[in-house]
Structure formats: structure tokens, C-alpha cells
């Protein structure tokens, strides 16, 4: 134990933020203490059985210091232009000069988490104190604990009761070039009753050095509120990304999440949503591309805590090279959650013989009057479909592209932010073209 603590010491000893309100200092201390006692997960931990984070634990990162990225470099990043409203966070810190937030509707708050904590506006600081850390339970989550130990800045969005944000808002997290750093982006999103918004979280690297982004997002969706949420993960190919999103959906709220994982060397996405009021509805969709020797791990949990809630989940993966992927979809139906209707589908397409996926549905059902379905399908492209298309004159390559695009298209077509969908398609298809050229030995 002492040895472990010593090994973990550099992670929490250096560069840890100080100051701020008492409650925040306490929260950070608890995060640091929990991380030190938990240590990094190992493959003996059921939740991390197929994902070995030893490369992260062994790497030497400096805590991210204040860094800047030039405006031109930001504009050149994928997705930077996908939305008019943009909140930019560089190495975990809000970058006002790169953000475009002038056109926000009245009353809507979007900006720096640090500024909200420190109470430029008292209502903000009360809001943050009330909600921050409430959902991202870190008692058994080392990475969330580590993130919590470093809470200082990040993104804060509050959509007040009844306010509708018509334009999509993007929170763009950029890892700056330079030395290998670890950053802990933190996001708090609170939607008041009957409010509506579309929020895109984008994680990209402006750096080719190895870095580690350890993100935590908490999302409160108030009564009858509607949130359409996108997470786009396209870190640099040598980067590590561990991110968790914790969602609470109140009565009659509607939360849908679309997760796209295209980059990173070792990636773990956790999406956890609790249906916490009757009639709430949650959709968790995902599409990931794992190629080269990358590892992409998606863990989802949908917790039906109340009655009459539907949930929908479709995750799809495309694997090439010697890549590995993990999908674990947990659905919990609590005793009170009668009339639950939960559907889960998970499909993976293997482009090479060396790619590997470990997939597991995990149903924990404690109510008796519920509908839960799940299905998994893993395999290569359908030979019959390829022949059918060829028999109509398409070449093998055209047929294969058409089928792969169709596979991905079923998730992409649900992206309601048009420029984002276009950007995702072009990024995904460019990467796929590269992978397929490799398969064909070109």
C-alpha cells in the first residue's frame, strides 16, 4: 500500500490547484485521497478487464499549465467550424479569446467553470456548488477521482428554465502542443425545466506528443427538458483519453447522446445515464473507429430508477489493423422502474482478421413488468450483400465502401447538427479509406 501510494504520489502531488471556496477544496482533497487509495485500475478489475491502463500509469506527464493555441491553429482543427457558438477550453482552461459566445440567448450561461465557481455572478457559484460533483461519483472510479482532485476550470453551461438554445453550442477541448501533459477537463451542464439545447463536446489534440486527457462531464437534464448531446473524440493518434459522462434525467426529460470516437491511442469512454423521473427518455448511441494498434473501450450504463421510462442504445464499431475494442453495455432496472422499455444493440464490423472486440451486455433487472432487449452482432461484411451489389455492376471496392458507409450511416444520420455531420463523415471516411488501402495492400 505504501509502495502504491508512493508510485501514485507524483500524480496528485504536483501542480494541484489550491484556493477557491472551502467546499471545492474539500472536494479536491477527497478526490486526491480516493485516487491514492484506489490507484489505477488493473485488468483484475472487472470494469477494466480488457483495457490495460498501465501505459498511462507508467507515462510521465506534467500537469497541464496555462497554455495557448493560436487562433489559426484552432480554426484548422477538425470540427472547429462546425458550430457558430463555441466555448474553447485549452489544456483544461477556458480560453475566452478563442471562444465565440456573443450570440447566446438572454439568461443562458456558458463559459469558464472557474469563473462560475468564483462567483462573478452569485447565481452561478450557487449553481456550481449545488451540482458539481453530485453525479460523478468517484468512490470506485480512479480516473474520476483524479479529475476531481484537479478541478479548477473547464466548461460551465446553464440553460435556465424554459430557455431554448436554438443554435448548437460546441465545447471544444484542445490539448496544446508542447511537452507531454495531463489535463483534467471538467464540464458541468445544467438544463432547467422545459429548456432545450444541443451541445457538442469535442476533444482534439493540436499536438503530436503523447498527452493524456482525463475528462469528466456532469449533465443535469431538468423536468421536461430536452438535450441533444454529442461527444466527438478525435485526440491525436498517440494520445490517451479517458472520459466519463454522468447524466441525470428528471421527469419527462429527454436526453440523447451521440458518441463518436475516431482518434487516440488508448481510449475509454464511460457514459452513465440515470432515468430519475417517470417518463424520462434516454438514447445512447455511439460509433467508433479502431484501427492501427489503437484501443477503444466504451462502457455504458443506463440506470432505470423510475417507472415508465424508455431507453434506446445503439453502438457500432469499425475495427481494422490490429486494433482492439471493448463494448460493455449495462442496463439496470430498479425495483420501482416498472414499465421500463430498454433496447440495446451493439454491432461491430471487423475489416481484418487481427482486429479484436470484447463485448458484453449486462442486464440487472429487479422489476418484473419490464421489456428489455439486447442484441450483439460481430462480423465481417456480408458476402451475400457484396455479391448482390456486384451483380448490379458495382466493383468489389464500390460495394464494400457502400456497405461500410451504410453501417456507419445509421449512426451518422442521427446527427442533427448538419455541419458536424458533414465534418464527421469526411474525417471518418478519410480514415477508413486509409485503413482499407492497408487491407488491400496498396
Amino acid at each position: 500500500m505504501a509502495q502504491l501510494a508512493e508510485k501514485l504520489h507524483p500524480w496528485v502531488a504536483e501542480g494541484r490547484p489550491a484556493g477557491g471556496p472551502r467546499w471545492l477544496q474539500d472536494l479536491r482533497e477527497r478526490g486526491a485521497a480516493t485516487f491514492t487509495s484506489l490507484g489505477f485500475p488493473t485488468v483484475r478489475d472487472e470494469e477494466w478487464r480488457y483495457t490495460n491502463v498501465a501505459p498511462i500509469a507508467a507515462a510521465e506527464f506534467q500537469p497541464a499549465s496555462v497554455a495557448t493555441v493560436g487562433a489559426a491553429a484552432v480554426e484548422a482543427l477538425p470540427y472547429a467550424g462546425a458550430t457558430a457558438l463555441r466555448l474553447v477550453v485549452v489544456n483544461g482552461r477556458f480560453a475566452p479569446e478563442l471562444s465565440r459566445l456573443a450570440a447566446l440567448p438572454r439568461g443562458l450561461r456558458a463559459g469558464s467553470l472557474a469563473a462560475a465557481i468564483n462567483g462573478d455572478l452569485q447565481a452561478d457559484s450557487e449553481m456550481v456548488q449545488r451540482y458539481l460533483g453530485r453525479l460523478a461519483d468517484f468512490s470506485s472510479r480512479a480516473f474520476a477521482a483524479l479529475n476531481t482532485a484537479f478541478i479548477e476550470d473547464g466548461a460551465y453551461v446553464h440553460v435556465p428554465d424554459g430557455v431554448v438554445l436554438e443554435e448548437p453550442l460546441q465545447i471544444l477541448f484542445v490539448s496544446a502542443p508542447g511537452v507531454p501533459v495531463v489535463s483534467h477537463p471538467r464540464t458541468l451542464i445544467v438544463l432547467g425545466e422545459r429548456s432545450q439545447a444541443r451541445i457538442v463536446e469535442t476533444y482534439v489534440g493540436a499536438s503530436d506528443v503523447q498527452y493524456f486527457a482525463n475528462a469528466v462531464t456532469e449533465v443535469f437534464v431538468g423536468e421536461s427538458a430536452v438535450l441533444d448531446h454529442y461527444k466527438v473524440q478525435q485526440e491525436s493518434d498517440s494520445a490517451f483519453h479517458v472520459g466519463s459522462m454522468h447524466v441525470n434525467a428528471a421527469r419527462s426529460a429527454n436526453f440523447s447522446s451521440h458518441s463518436f470516437s475516431l482518434g487516440g491511442k488508448l481510449v475509454r469512454n464511460d457514459a452513465l445515464a440515470t432515468l430519475d423521473g417517470e417518463g424520462a427518455e434516454v438514447t445512447l448511441n455511439g460509433l467508433y473507429l479502431a484501427d492501427g494498434d489503437r484501443l477503444v473501450d466504451n462502457h455504458t450504463t443506463i440506470d432505470h430508477a423510475r417507472a415508465h421510462c424508455p431507453s434506446h442504445e445503439v453502438y457500432k464499431g469499425i475495427l481494422g489493423g490490429r486494433a482492439r475494442a471493448v463494448f460493455n453495455g449495462k442496463i439496470i432496472v430498479r425495483q420501482d422502474a416498472q414499465k421500463t422499455d430498454a433496447k440495446q444493440t451493439n454491432r461491430a464490423l471487423l475489416l481484418t482478421d487481427d482486429a479484436l472486440i470484447n463485448t458484453k451486455p449486462q442486464l440487472e433487472i429487479f422489476a418484473d413488468d419490464v421489456k428489455c432487449t439486447h442484441g450483439a452482432a460481430i462480423g465481417q461484411l456480408d458476402d451475400d450483400a457484396i455479391f448482390y451489389l456486384r451483380a448490379r455492376g458495382l466493383t468489389f471496392f464500390e460495394a464494400r465502401d457502400m456497405l461500410i458507409h451504410a453501417f456507419a450511416g445509421q449512426i451518422l444520420e442521427r446527427v442533427k447538427v448538419e455541419p458536424l455531420r458533414t465534418a464527421l463523415e469526411s474525417e471518418l471516411y478519410a480514415r477508413l479509406a486509409r485503413d482499407l488501402a492497408e487491407v488491400d495492400g496498396k
Binding site: 455479391f387 448482390y388 456486384r390 451483380a391 455492376g393 458495382l394 460495394a399 456497405l403
Partner: protein, 247 residues
């Protein structure tokens, strides 16, 4: 147009066709009949280039060229069309998008300009009317959730759009009610011309009431055991296939 000589084909390691000779000239309609397992569908699939059917002997010339040397997609672009016995469902591929890709692949192959979206939509609207294809079928995924009859109509619809030189109908009548059969037959008959040819593979004579063949061939045990005119089909209908094997 098509010259098949001593064609031998294996499927799943088993010898199915044991030497087929068949000559199809332009303007002709040939019916291939025979009991289950006689090799009718194997002949259709081998001609279309299905990878699971291995040609172990014989030759096939299409317009004087070696058909067996061509990939399935090249055969299609050169003008061979097989209407599938079991059309494949392709999730996520929009039917109209697929048809446009297929048509333009062929046009490009023949040095014709590709159709743009507007020209293409005009064309398929016209063709769709004749075959009782509604707009819904065009915007849905290829064959996905289609009824048996819709799938077969969709095959004939593709055929009318691609205007093949040689159409091969692989048991297109199976599972069709009489109304659907009439629609399908109308589509096939509309394609009959002195420049084209059709091979109709069927188990039953019924389809041949509507698509009247010039020649009927009876397959048994992987060989053509009897050939004749359209009256042969009627004879088979009344006597069954038993007398062929006995003969």
C-alpha cells in the same frame, strides 16, 4: 449471344452441373425447367459469376467473349442481369441511391454520361409506375422489410432500369400471388426485343403462361435431358417430372 458448352459446376464441393450445352440467340426467350435439385439455379448463379459456384469445366461465350474470365460486376456492366431468387436485404443503403449507383456504373462503363439526381428521379418515376413500385419502396433500404412480392418486383424494376442484353430470372415466380405474377411478367415482356434475350428459370409452368418462351429445356441431374418448344412446358405440367427421369 450466349454459348454455353459442356459447362460443369461445383457448389460446396459437390458436382451439380455435369455438362450443359445451351445456345441463346438475341430475341429469344428460353425457359429452364426441372425438379428441385436438378441444377437450374446453379446454372443461373454460375452465369452471373457467384463466387460460391466453381466452374470446373466447359466454356461460356457472351457476345463472343469469354464470360468466365469476367468478374460478376463486369458481367453486369456488359449487360447480364440476374433477378435473384432470394434478393438480399441491405440495411442502410437507400434503394434509389443504390439504383443510381448501379445505373451510372453501367453508363460509365459504356462511355455514356452519368445521370444526375434530377434526370435519374425522372427516369425511375416513369419505370416505377409500370411496375407498381411506390415512392416508399424507393426511399427505404434495399429490400429491407420488403414483402416477398415487393422484393421480386424490385428485381424486375432494377432490370427495367438497367436494360440488360441478357436477363436471367432465377425462380422469380416462386412465392408470388397471381397479381404480382402478372406485374412481374408485364415487366419482363416489356423488355422483350430483337436485341435482347431472356432465360427464365422456373419450377412451374404457370409463369410461362405469361412469359411465353421460344424454347423450353428440362434439366435433370445436372444435364439438359430434353429440349423443345413452349408445348414442352405444358406437357411437364400435366405429366410431372417423373416421366423425364424415366425416359
Amino acid at each position: 449471344m450466349l454459348e454455353v458448352k459442356n459447362l460443369q459446376v461445383k457448389a460446396e464441393g459437390k458436382e451439380i452441373l455435369r455438362g450443359i450445352d445451351l445456345t441463346v440467340n438475341t430475341g429469344e426467350v428460353h425457359a429452364i425447367m426441372g425438379p428441385n435439385g436438378s441444377g437450374k439455379s446453379t446454372l443461373a448463379r454460375a452465369l452471373s459469376g457467384h463466387p460460391e459456384y466453381e466452374v470446373t469445366g466447359g466454356t461460356v461465350l457472351f457476345e463472343g467473349r469469354d464470360l468466365l474470365e469476367m468478374d460478376p460486376d463486369e458481367r453486369a456492366r456488359e449487360g447480364i442481369f440476374m433477378a435473384f431468387q432470394y434478393p438480399v436485404e441491405i440495411a442502410g443503403v437507400n434503394n434509389a441511391y443504390f439504383l443510381k449507383a448501379a445505373l451510372n456504373a453501367k453508363r460509365k462503363h459504356h462511355g455514356q454520361p452519368e445521370l444526375d439526381a434530377v434526370e435519374f428521379m425522372q427516369l425511375i418515376r416513369e419505370k416505377a409506375k409500370d411496375l407498381d413500385i411506390d415512392q416508399g419502396m424507393l426511399t427505404r433500404s434495399v429490400n429491407e422489410g420488403f414483402s416477398g412480392g415487393e422484393k421480386k418486383r424490385n428485381e424486375i424494376f432494377q432490370m427495367s432500369l438497367l436494360e440488360p442484353k441478357l436477363a436471367i430470372l432465377d425462380e422469380t415466380d416462386s412465392g408470388l400471388d397471381i397479381d404480382a405474377l402478372k406485374v412481374v411478367s408485364k415487366g419482363v415482356n416489356a423488355m422483350r426485343s430483337p436485341e435482347r434475350a431472356t432465360i427464365v428459370v422456373t419450377h412451374y409452368q404457370r409463369l410461362l403462361d405469361y412469359i411465353v418462351p421460344d424454347f423450353v429445356h428440362v434439366l435433370s441431374g445436372g444435364r439438359i435431358v430434353k429440349s423443345g418448344g413452349k408445348e414442352l412446358a405444358l406437357e411437364l405440367e400435366s405429366k410431372g417430372y417423373g416421366w423425364i427421369d424415366a425416359a
